[in-house]
C-alpha cells in the first residue's frame, strides 16, 4: 500500500473506534488512575499501538506522516492511554536496531543524575524517570541516558522500578519510576541520525498533534453550543462578541493542526528537530488561549464535571507542558536563530521544507 492509502485507512478506522469506545465511563475510570486495558487491547489488535514497528515486530512500518491521523485522533477523543507514546517508542526502537519486546511501551525523560554502570555482562541503571506517562501500567519504558560521554537509548522493564503514582492536570497517570541499581533490559548507542534529545523531541511531536486534535474538537463543541444556546432571544453565536472569539479559536486551531502535520511530515523525512520545536511552540501558545475561549463561550455549564469540555481543556493544560513547554522550545529555537544571526533566519525558514 502507498503511504497515502495507509494514512487514509488509519484515519478512517481510528476515528470510528475511538468515537465508539472512549465513553464518559472510560474517561471517568481513567481519571481514577485505572489503565483501560480492554480499550488498549482493542487498539493494539487493530494495529495502532505498533503501527510504526516493522512487520517483524507486529507493525506495518508506518511513517510519521502515516500516523499523524492516529495521534490527532487520540487528542480529539481525549484518549486516556499511552498510545502516542507507544508509537514513538516503537519508532525509536525500530530505527535504532533494537528488538521490540511484547508488551506495552512507554517513553520518559530520565532525571539528571541518572547513571548507567556495567556489572558483569550487563548494564544497570540508578536513577529516576519522572512524569512517566502511565508508568504504572506500561511493561517497558524507553529513555535516554548519557554515560561516559556516550548518549544511549535505554529500554527498562517497568517491573524493575518502584512506582510512585502521580497524575497530570487531566488526571492522566504521570508516574515517578525509581530504579535502584536495576537491570537494564536493553540499550544501544544513540544512532547518529537521531535528534539531539530524542525522547523530548518525539514526545513533543506527538503532544503537538494531540493538542491539535483536542483543539479541533473544541472548535466543534463551541460552534455547536453557540448555535444551540439561546440568550436574549437568539443563539449566542449571533453575537459578534462570540463570533470574534470563535474565529480566534478556529484560526489558532488550524495553525496548530498545520504546525503538527508539518512537523510529522518533516520527521518522516528525517528532519524532526526544527519543525517539532515550531509545532510545540505554536501548540503551547495556542492551548491556553483555546481553553480560555472554550470556557468563556460555554459559560457555567462548561465548568461542570458533567460536561465533556473539561476532558479536553484539562488535557490542553497538561499536554502543553509535557516534553517541554512552549517557553522551553522557544528559548531553544531562539538561541539557535540568534547564534546564526539575522541574515540566516529567512534561509533557515525556507530550508525547512517538505520534499515533493
Amino acid at each position: 500500500m502507498s503511504t497515502t492509502e495507509v494514512r487514509a485507512l488509519f484515519e478512517d478506522s481510528i476515528h470510528r473506534i475511538l468515537g465508539d469506545q472512549v465513553t464518559p465511563a472510560v474517561l471517568r475510570n481513567a481519571e481514577a488512575g485505572e489503565w483501560q486495558a480492554q480499550l488498549f487491547g482493542v487498539l493494539d489488535q487493530a494495529g495502532f499501538a505498533r503501527a510504526m514497528a516493522s512487520e517483524e515486530f507486529g507493525g506495518v512500518g508506518a511513517s510519521w506522516s502515516d500516523v499523524f491521523p492516529i495521534v490527532f485522533a487520540c487528542g480529539r477523543h481525549a484518549l486516556p492511554l499511552a498510545l502516542p507514546e507507544s508509537l514513538a517508542a516503537c519508532w525509536m526502537l525500530d530505527n535504532s536496531g533494537m528488538q521490540i519486546p511484547d508488551g506495552t511501551l512507554g517513553i520518559a525523560q530520565a532525571s539528571s543524575g541518572t547513571a548507567l554502570s556495567r556489572q558483569g555482562g550487563g548494564w544497570r541503571l540508578q536513577g529516576t524517570l519522572s512524569g512517566t506517562p502511565w508508568g504504572r501500567a506500561v511493561d517497558f519504558v524507553l529513555t535516554h541516558v548519557r554515560h561516559d560521554g556516550v548518549d544511549r537509548l535505554v529500554l527498562l522493564n517497568r517491573e524493575a522500578a518502584i512506582v510512585i503514582p502521580d497524575q497530570n492536570i487531566a488526571r492522566e497517570a504521570r508516574d515517578r519510576l525509581e530504579f535502584n541499581n536495576a537491570e537494564v533490559y536493553a540499550l544501544v548507542p544513540m544512532p547518529d541520525a537521531f535528534p539531539f534529545d530524542p525522547i523530548q523531541t518525539y514526545g513533543a511531536l506527538v503532544r503537538s498533534a494531540q493538542i491539535a486534535g483536542a483543539m479541533d474538537r473544541i472548535v466543534n463543541l463551541c460552534v455547536q453550543y453557540a448555535n444551540d444556546r439561546i440568550q436574549f432571544g437568539k443563539p449566542i453565536g449571533k453575537f459578534q462578541a462570540i463570533q470574534q472569539q470563535l474565529a480566534v479559536l478556529a484560526a489558532d486551531a488550524a495553525s496548530v493542526t498545520t504546525a503538527a502535520e508539518f512537523a510529522f511530515a518533516m520527521a518522516a523525512q528525517g528532519e524532526p528537530a526544527f519543525a517539532t520545536a515550531c509545532a510545540k511552540i505554536r501548540a503551547g501558545e495556542a492551548a491556553g488561549k483555546a481553553a480560555a475561549i472554550a470556557h468563556a463561550v460555554h459559560g457555567a455549564i462548561g465548568f461542570t464535571y458533567e460536561h465533556t469540555l473539561h476532558y479536553l481543556t484539562r488535557r490542553l493544560w497538561s499536554w502543553r507542558s509535557e516534553f517541554g513547554t512552549h517557553a522551553y522550545w522557544a528559548d531553544k529555537l531562539g538561541r539557535e536563530v540568534c547564534a546564526a544571526g539575522g541574515a540566516q533566519v529567512w534561509p533557515l525558514i525556507t530550508r525547512t521544507q517538505i520534499k515533493d
Binding site: Q244, A250, A259, C338, V345
Partner: protein, 381 residues
C-alpha cells in the same frame, strides 16, 4: 472525520525551488546599499526601475499564458519569487497590485481584447494598477458603495469617489467596483471597470498618512467616460468577482512578512547570546512564521487548482497580520531604546513600523471583517 479547516500540506515543487537561488542572487546584487527604511516599506515602496528589471527576468505575470507575455509557471513558482522579494524588503509596489490581483482578474473575467491589451504591458513592467474598492462612506461595508456608472451611447459615465487608493498617483489603471444597477440586495447591481487614470474628469489627491507620507489617495470621478470595452466580466457580477479577488489579496506572504526587515535587525541587535526572555520571543516569532507560511502555501496551491479558498485566506490574514503587528511591540520590550528618526538602522525601522503596523489589519479587509468571515465559515448561524 472533517477537519474544521482546510490547509492540506503542500510541498514546494522542484520547478519552484529552482528559482530561489537566482532570485536571491538578483536581489543581493540589486539591493546592496539599499536604505533599511526602503526594506521596511517593501510592498509600499515604489521603484519602477526595479520593477522593469524584474520584468526583464520574467518575474512579473509569471503564471499567465505565454501568449499574454506570462511564463506559464505554477502559482507555487510565483510564490517562491514573491516571498523572496518580500523577505528581502524589495521595493515592489509599482507592479505589486497588477501582478497579484488585477492581472489574474483580467485573465479570469476579462475578454480577449482586454487580455491582449493589458497583460503583456503588465508583464513588461510598464503598466501599473490600483484597486478601487473603498469609498468615503463605504469601508468594511463594501457593498454599500455609491460610485455609479450610467450607460451612454459608447459606454459608461462614472461619478463618485474612491479612497485609500494605494499608489493611484503613479498607476495607469484602476479596477474600480461601481454600482451600475439596483438589485433587491445591495450586493447586486455592481460591476468592475478598467479605468484609465488619465481620463478627463479624474482628480487624484494624495492623503497624508500618520507617518507624514502619502502612501494612499482619494480618487474622484466626475463624468468620467469609460468605453463599453472596459467593463470587466459581466455587468452586475462585480461582487462575485471582487470576492474571488480578495482570496488572492488576503493569503499571500505579504500578510506575515511585513516586519521581516525589523525582525532580522532585532536578531542582530540582540546578538548571538540573547537572554532567556529575548530568545523565547525570537523562537515564538520564527515558529509562527514557519507555520503561517505553510498555511499560505497551501492556499496558493488551492488557488492553483481553481478552488475558491476565500475562508482559508481569511485565516491566513488574521493570523499573519496579528503576528506582523506584534513584532514592533515585542521589539520595544526587548531592546532598551527610545528610537529617533535619524537613529541607527534598527531605530529607523522601529520608528517606521511602529507607526505603520496599525494598517496591517486594516488593508485588505479589517480584522473584524476577516474574523466574521471565519465565523461564518464555521457555521455559526
Amino acid at each position: 472525520m472533517a477537519y474544521q479547516h482546510n490547509f492540506p500540506l503542500c510541498p514546494l515543487p522542484a520547478d519552484a525551488e529552482t528559482l530561489r537561488q537566482p532570485i536571491r542572487e538578483f536581489l543581493y546584487a540589486e539591493l546592496r546599499g539599499q536604505p533599511r527604511l526602503v526594506a521596511a516599506k517593501s510592498w509600499m515602496a515604489y521603484d519602477s526601475e526595479f520593477t522593469r528589471k524584474l520584468a526583464e527576468r520574467g518575474w512579473i505575470g509569471m503564471t499567465w499564458p505565454k501568449r499574454y507575455g506570462g511564463g506559464e509557471h505554477s502559482a507555487l513558482a510565483r510564490y517562491v519569487i514573491v516571498e523572496e522579494l518580500l523577505a528581502a524588503g524589495a521595493p515592489v509596489l509599482a507592479h505589486w497590485i497588477a501582478d497579484r490581483q488585477s492581472g489574474p482578474l483580467i485573465l479570469r473575467f476579462g475578454n480577449e481584447e482586454q487580455r491582449q491589451y493589458f497583460l503583456p504591458a503588465i508583464c513588461r513592467g510598464e503598466m501599473f494598477f490600483c484597486i478601487g474598492m473603498s469609498e468615503p462612506d463605504s469601508g468594511s461595508d463594501l457593498a454599500s458603495i455609491r460610485t455609479r456608472g450610467t450607460r451612454t451611447a459608447e459606454g459608461w459615465r462614472i461619478n463618485g469617489a474612491k479612497v485609500w487608493t494605494t499608489n493611484a498617483h503613479r498607476c495607469h489603471y484602476m479596477i474600480a467596483l461601481v454600482r451600475t444597477g439596483d438589485g433587491s440586495e445591495k450586493h447586486q447591481g455592481l460591476s468592475q471597470f478598467l479605468i484609465d487614470l488619465k481620463a478627463p474628469g479624474i482628480v487624484i489627491r494624495p492623503i497624508q498618512d500618520l507617518t507624514g507620507e502619502s502612501s494612499f489617495n482619494e480618487v474622484v470621478f466626475q463624468d468620467v467616460l469609460v468605453p463599453a470595452t472596459r467593463l470587466v466580466g459581466e455587468e452586475g457580477n462585480g461582487w462575485a468577482q471582487v470576492v474571488a479577488e480578495l482570496a488572492l489579496e488576503r493569503s499571500g506572504p505579504e500578510r506575515f512578512l511585513s516586519c521581516m526587515a525589523l525582525f532580522t535587525e532585532l536578531i542582530d541587535r540582540l546578538g548571538p547570546q540573547p537572554d532567556a526572555r529575548a530568545a523565547s520571543v525570537i523562537g515564538s516569532v520564527v515558529s509562527r512564521t514557519v507555520v503561517y507560511r505553510q498555511m499560505s502555501v497551501s492556499v496558493a496551491a488551492q488557488l492553483q487548482r481553481g478552488d475558491n479558498p476565500a475562508t482559508e485566506a481569511a485565516y491566513v490574514k488574521d493570523l499573519g497580520t496579528t503576528l506582523e503587528q506584534e513584532i514592533p511591540e515585542l521589539a520595544h520590550t526587548l531592546i532598551e531604546c527610545a528610537p529617533t528618526l535619524s537613529g541607527s538602522d534598527y531605530e529607523q525601522l522601529l520608528t517606521y513600523l511602529t507607526q505603520f503596523a496599525p494598517s496591517f489589519s486594516l488593508r485588505g479587509g479589517t480584522r473584524e471583517i476577516v474574523r466574521g468571515i471565519i465565523a461564518r465559515g464555521l457555521g455559526v448561524r
